[in-house]
Amino acid sequence: MPTALAAPPRSERVRKDDGTALLDALRVNDSDAAAALFDRYGEHVERVLARVLGVDSELQDLLHEVFIRALVGIADVRDPALLKSWITSIAVFTARECIRRRSRRRWLKFLPWSEVPEQVAPPFDFAGSEVLRATYALLDRLPADERIAFTLRFIDGMELTETASACRVSLATIKRRLSRAEARLRAAAQEHPAVAEWLEEAR
């Protein structure tokens, strides 16, 4: 005679569901819900922040900040299917504030073809890290909204509609921002051979 399977623990239900149980649990301050939210979207949020800002020392604090904001504002989410895009937007706007904050604190800055430390750097994939460093040096020169659009679309590989949704703007607006960002980046890339090389057409 078949026996009824024991119901999985509540935390297990929260982790495995399509978002409805998670959202319900978050709204009633379920102790496992915050962990479940982070486990589900932590990697994604970290990646979005890294795409927009680069991987740096503030990333940890910003990642924490995004989830605190999400937990506080969870009542705003009506449709569990939109949970991921909603938290992506929080990450994007948190990154945007960070960009604005940094630009206010940045002193005069000029970027020659290279910025070489006086010491010889340790042997690792310098070529790889140079294109990374140079790309974000160029991105630092874009207006925040154009930078965000560019990094989400071309580095994170989001579709246009997904990018527009993350930035909470229309498709037309995101296309305009991408167009301007691309033009600026291509013009500035000539100062950075590590980047220019990638933008040259394959021969």
């Binding site: 301050n29 290279s114 980047v195 990638w198």
Partner: protein
């Protein structure tokens, strides 16, 4: 396609870094260690009480904003101002006002302003009192106006500081970059350009200009953020030197101190960074602002002197300025000076790479370029541009007709950088498909 290619490379490099980090586990522990409970507990209390739910939520959110911002902040949260709404900076922190075109006005502590109207070309802002740092993004159709009392400052794409004290009817403007036109109070049109500081008093419908010495170029919102609010003192009697309209002579200020708590500071609004002992040469500031044409013009007459006196970092910058403005021979001169004065240094190797780029540009001298790229690889085999140098060496050797050498270099390139951006060229040189 090339942008996608760059993007994929960046993403791949980042994913490697992210995978090797403990960052997520640390944040998770932090969230589970109390910060998440703190956040949700406040929200939960608000929901439990019908009568106090709104009030508690407001308090909770205000506390949480303070909690999660956490670290000391020098400014209030940036605001996107609505037309018509007054914006007032707090007693101790500046208030940034951000606009969708990237322009920004930072109100100093206790300053107050209102956006009167906005359209696609700009905005009209009324500065009721205090100091503001204004940074307007220039576009062909940019039109901004900042009103202060009877004066208006017309802006087309500039950075400057301004201060208006209604009690004394004194307007001060210090230009960091670009130019503005000041009108009002019978002034006519007064143009103010980079580096100038001006001060106008409006007396009985006539503007009286006071002389202020030129201020340092560097001006940033941080200058406002880092300054203490001006002390409450009686203003000094201004000394007019160039009255615009002499019909009414200026009387010494003997009236009671202004009801406003702040007074016009005697110091220029835009102050240099305290730790900088001397202003950098003008060309460096212009280069830092990406104004390469102006930068080269500023340094051209003293290029030889800079070649013999500037440090290696500035020499690289100077060479870049010359290159970007089409002054190839000057760029080469600077780079050769760098290599001579800082021989065997990492920047000397960079100069070799840059010399290779100059020679390779537009096919000027492929053989010479190849020699410079080889020099870079010899001096900095693990340098940050090693992959680029090897790729360009391969290309220029091929262009110079050194087919055998180009094929050897192509093999090295494919061996070391199998997914590099020039693999297609390497394969074609080796006859691969």
């Amino acid at each position: 396609m090339t942008l996608e290619r760059l993007g994929r490379e960046i993403a791949k490099l980042q994913d490697e870094e992210l995978a090797n980090s403990r960052r997520r586990s640390l944040v998770r522990a932090r969230l589970m260690g109390g910060s998440a409970r703190e956040a949700t507990r406040h929200v939960g209390r608000a929901r439990d009480s019908v009568h106090w739910s709104l009030a508690l939520a407001a308090v909770a959110i205000a506390a949480l904003v303070g909690f999660w911002v956490g670290r000391p902040s020098m400014t209030q949260t940036p605001t996107v101002p609505r037309a018509g709404a007054w914006q007032t900076a707090s007693e101790s922190a500046p208030l940034p006002l951000e606009f969708s075109d990237g322009s920004e006005i930072v109100l100093a502590p206790r300053a107050r302003a209102r956006v009167v109207e906005r359209d696609e070309n700009g905005a009209r802002v009324f500065l009721e009192r205090g100091r503001a740092h204004v940074a307007v993004v220039h576009r062909p159709s940019t039109r901004w106006g900042i009103e202060a009392g009877p004066f208006e400052v017309a802006v087309t794409g500039t950075q400057f500081d301004m201060q208006w004290e209604p009690g004394e009817e004194l307007l001060s403007v210090t230009m960091a970059e670009g130019k503005v036109e000041i009108t009002g109070c019978g002034l006519g049109v007064r143009r103010v350009t980079t580096g100038e500081s001006v001060r106008f008093a409006c007396r009985a419908g006539a503007a009286v200009e006071e002389h202020v010495s030129e201020s340092p170029v560097a001006s940033s919102p941080l200058a406002i953020a880092s300054q203490e609010p001006a002390p409450t003192t009686a203003p000094k009697a201004p000394t007019p030197s160039e009255p615009v309209h002499a019909s009414t002579s200026l009387q010494p200020m003997t009236s009671a101190p202004s009801a406003q708590p702040s007074a016009i500071s005697d110091a220029p609004i835009a102050t240099a960074i305290a730790s900088t002992p001397a202003s950098p040469p003008e060309w460096q500031a212009l280069a830092a602002a990406s104004r390469y044409g102006d930068a080269f013009a500023a340094v051209e007459s003293m290029l030889d002197r800079e070649c013999e006196s500037a440090d290696s970092a500035n020499l690289l910058t100077l060479a870049n300025v010359a290159r970007l403005t089409g002054h190839v021979e000057e760029a080469q001169r600077v780079l050769l000076a760098l290599r001579r004065r800082f021989s065997r240094s990492p920047r000397a190797a960079m100069a070799a790479f840059d010399l290779g780029m100059l020679s390779a540009d537009r096919g000027r001298d492929a053989a010479g370029a190849a020699r410079w790229f080889a020099t870079y690889l010899d001096e900095a085999p693990q340098g940050p541009l090693a992959r680029e140098a090897l790729g360009r060496l391969m290309e220029t050797e091929s262009q110079a007709g050194h087919a055998a050498r180009a094929r050897d270099t192509a093999r090295q390139y494919l061996d070391r950088y199998p997914t590099g951006p020039r693999t297609d060229l390497a394969k074609s040189l080796l006859g691969h498909e």
